[in-house]
Symmetry: C3
Subunit: 347 residues, 3 copies
């Protein structure tokens, strides 16, 4: 597959930036400083990687204003080299184009509306009354329930499952193994046995959301589970029934969000974190990885709760004391009183 | 889809409770206080939601004895409004009925016994010697191994995988992406290389179990992995080889249970929790979310081990001390001795 | 299915060890001390299980030199009974043999090279330009992208997804629901909206790797994500873009490894553990379960960071103090100074 070449002038015409050096040089792909070859454009976004400048074989580089003279390579100077790189990379690496049509092996029930520009892959199953918008691609082996709505230019990678009645916006990217709309974990105790509570809400997902591999988003118990526009979810995340995630929030892998939690807009949640049910997280909150959020957060800021690791022996000693922390605090209080007594006697 | 209407008398005839107000009023669905519309039945199960009573548009409500006069809506008074709601919801929202038969795209190997009342969906694959009981539904794209036994009225949602020889009871609900019977993580070290130990046990699952999306249950190494009747598993749970989970235990999402752990009956395990291998948890134990259980629990009760979160700055200070907790404890002991010395001198 | 019998002499001829008792006795399967039946071979690898010796119904047993006289059963004495058992079990339980050929329901695009000795199961989809090596089996419902390379004698269980361009070695075992090569979580912030960074690297997996059910391995952002030979991954593990895992490292279930982390060779990582992005873990490091590794580990050894659980009430008291640990440390420092003052005055 021959890649198209662009010279630096053409790139700057699209994305701005100041050009230095030979602006006629052409590139057709982005690459890291270390692995770049001739014909590739690299970038320097962190001073940590500056030592790699000397040996890069890239044809050109994106640098910050501060680094504009750190190299003699043909270069684009930008306020934000990482963002600039992201834009160029998206330009040089568009999504694979799709060939419209329904694969003969797909099983499409009656009353399904598929836009003629959409693609339905091999072995896909689509339930009655579902709509697939223009330019969307449902790839091999996906199973889409009945009465599902899928917007335009949305891409479901192979083997995604969407249950009945869910609503997916436009320009979504949903990775393989994702399950949208399975029953929430709703149970009532009835004389020692669990009674299942029907989960009759939907999952409603806004535009421009990306969902990572094997992530699960449960349908609402009565009302809907809602993922607002621009949310980015990594792999193996569990989102329980009736959760709401605010627009443009990003959540890293292995996070669990329990029922009815409401996450604000523009939050960033680190990997492995847990958020308990019915908590509310305000906008612009950042939560560190592997932190357990057991109550609502009302103020923007960064929140953390990680047990720091150490060598196993050191941990054993410290952990043993941890079980007696309350006693330690009591002892300190007693010591304070005794010293106070001694001091009074002295005077 | 027109829903069937029931008046409150008909509902009370099924589920008991005292009726107050207009008992001829009809409902056809349940809903929350906030979202209920005319024709819908809501419920008040927690005083937290009492302020929403005034503005609900529900046609009727389920309330506790204490709240029987808190509203003038037509109402059903119950000792346990949440359980009552659960029962009515199950009544108004039965599982989709299935149309018996085997989809022509299904690949069924020889010697498979499928009850004529069962449903086998599109692209399902079923291995030799497997049995599917009356009223069970194997939905689109499931892959069932050889010599698997599936009971009656069990439902496997799309894209479930069951490996060879596993035994699934009756009235199971298994959500999409679940993998039952993959190999346990059994390895022996042989001169710097891992030797795989064949995993020749089965997974045996009792009746009335529900399993959430993308949960995995490994087969036993030599003996079986066993999930007893009435167990409820949420999404993205990992159950390792030779685990046994006692009847009517409920486990929330993202839990990991390591090999040969034995969990009692009627336990409740919060999300994100980890249970180490070979531990034993007695009946009626409750474990908080995101707690790591590293040794056996012999007594019923609630157990917790969570690092409390705080603002990142406060956490940094506290976590720094945590690495020196053992030293802090030693200092306190020294201070006690020094004060003792001072006190003796004084007397 | 009739199993083949072997007498102890035949087994010792393959795997060594000293024979005691009736060496003509035959066995055809391995089993635990507790469940073994006549015709089965058991083993004693831990003194914990010695009490079960008296009642086992096994026909023969593998024991350590120290236990060579602890039973009168026909027995094989080995330095390492567990490893010996593993070898015999692998011998008695070979992988199911495969029947070469491509199932008629498989959808194979043009230019795919499938070795005549390979097996392609029902409903498998394979993209253009992919190669499948000799003796490999792609089981029901797998979806393999374009330009993928799969080595020899590799087995993909049902419903595995491999994205375009990935490279899988020989003798891999990949369990159901695994997703290899989905996009890494690469985003740049652009005026309040996330811009997706194309993930153009591959996943490259060495020989003899096993990957557990529903585990996800993302492709690299620019360079590749690399899993070296002999690595063993359990279920529901998340491996982010550009991670490198060294040869013969074993990782238990529910672990999350963030972007660009580099894990050494021969490491052992316990379940539920998190490893932050860009950390480096040297060879021969052991990490306890449910530990969060937030910075690089340069020395071999065992590392731990777990909040010890206790009864909920005890935890509440200790956790309350934890939020004030820094103040406690300050108080201790003050007390030390005051005592020092008192002592000086005394003298």
């Amino acid at each position: 597959m021959k890649r198209k070449d662009y010279n630096l002038k053409e790139i700057a015409a699209h994305f701005g930036g100041q050009l230095l050096g030979n602006t006629e040089i052409t590139v057709n792909q982005v690459a890291t400083l270390e692995k770049a070859k001739a014909g590739q454009l690299t970038f320097l976004a962190s001073e940590k990687y500056r030592p790699l400048l000397a040996n890069t074989r890239a044809s050109a580089i994106i640098v910050s204003t501060a680094d504009s003279e750190a190299t003699s390579l043909p270069r684009i100077v930008s306020d934000n080299p990482y963002l600039y790189f992201a834009k160029v990379s998206a330009f040089l690496n568009p999504l694979d184009s799709i060939v419209p049509g329904v694969h003969p092996s797909a099983v499409v029930e009656e009353g399904v509306q598929i836009d003629p520009s959409a693609y339905i892959g091999p072995n896909v199953v689509i339930g009655a009354g579902t709509k697939v918008g223009a330019g969307s691609a449902i790839m091999a082996g996906c199973s889409i329930g009945a009465r599902v709505s899928i917007g335009t230019n949305t891409r479901l990678h192979p083997r995604v499952v969407v249950y009945n009645n869910c609503v997916l916006g436009s320009r979504l990217i949903v990775h393989s193994g994702v399950v949208i709309g399975a029953d929430g974990f709703g149970l009532a105790m009835d004389e020692g046995r669990w009674l299942k509570i029907p989960q009759i809400g939907r999952v409603v997902i806004g535009d421009d959301v990306e969902i990572g591999a094997n992530t699960t988003i449960d349908c609402g118990a009565l009302d809907d589970t809602v993922i607002e526009e621009g949310v980015k979810l990594d792999n193996l995340i569990q989102i329980a029934h009736n959760v709401r995630i605010g627009a443009h929030t990003a959540i890293a892998g292995c996070v669990g969000i329990a029922g009815s939690a409401v996450i604000g807009r523009h939050c960033r949640i680190g990997g492995g974190t847990g958020i308990l049910g019915h908590t509310q997280i305000s906008d612009h909150v950042e939560i560190s990885s592997y932190t357990m959020i057991g109550k609502s957060i009302r103020e923007p800021g960064t929140y953390t709760g990680i047990f720091p690791f150490s060598s196993h022996k050191v941990w054993q000693k410290n952990a043993a004391q941890l079980r007696h922390l309350d006693e330690l605090a009591s002892k300190i209080k007693m010591l304070q009183q005794e010293i106070e007594t001694l001091r009074k006697e002295r005077s």
